[in-house]
Subunit: 116 residues, 2 copies
């Protein structure tokens, strides 16, 4: 979970990104994060076990698709949209359009925010 | 290898396409076929065993990325560019640009044509 575990922009590879995005849950996470906001892991809602979601988050991070930040005991995640767009122009746009059209990953969403 | 084994255009799914394109040899085959020409399998040159290449071709076909045609005892293959562009606009373009830039799949090519 350390910052050191993120590939630098130039180290992000097409194949690892394609592999990371070859899963509907991971595509769903990318769709949720596509608004550019950083989210706490606890905010993410997905129809998989917590450990499975954790694995998916790790795959996305290792591929350079997301950046994870640890604050105290909580993990936050955001999409590395700038890095991905710089490395592979148009790829994330095309993926998001296709996923939106076919509703791929729609089972992933955000939990309702608890009242303060 | 029968025509029946190809998904119809509407049956092509984003996830299967992403999975199929999460491999450098398969990306290389797509790059070779990106000129739109149909090629005999024997024309393809890749640094893998014949059986491995055959497996890769099967993955591409099953995902709807390529169309394979059997003529006598020879297999021919072409990219389903129209179907892919229709289903997922911009995706193949972005992939080919990224792969070209990073030289992903450059180890796949065409054999020199034998003199007649």
């Amino acid at each position: 979970m350390r910052a050191a575990n993120h590939p630098e922009r130039d180290e992000i590879t097409l194949i690892e990104v394609m592999k990371a995005l070859g899963d509907p849950i991971r595509v769903g996470v990318v769709r949720v994060l596509s608004d550019g906001l950083e989210r706490g892991w606890g905010e993410l809602r997905a129809p998989v076990a917590k450990s499975t979601l954790s694995h998916h988050m790790q795959v996305l991070r290792a591929a350079g698709v997301t950046r994870t930040r640890l604050e105290g005991t909580r993990c936050y995640v955001r999409l590395r949209r700038d890095d991905l767009d710089e490395r592979f122009p148009g790829l994330v746009d095309a993926l998001l359009a296709a996923a939106g059209q076919d509703e791929v990953g729609s089972e992933v969403g955000l939990r309702p925010v608890a009242a303060p």
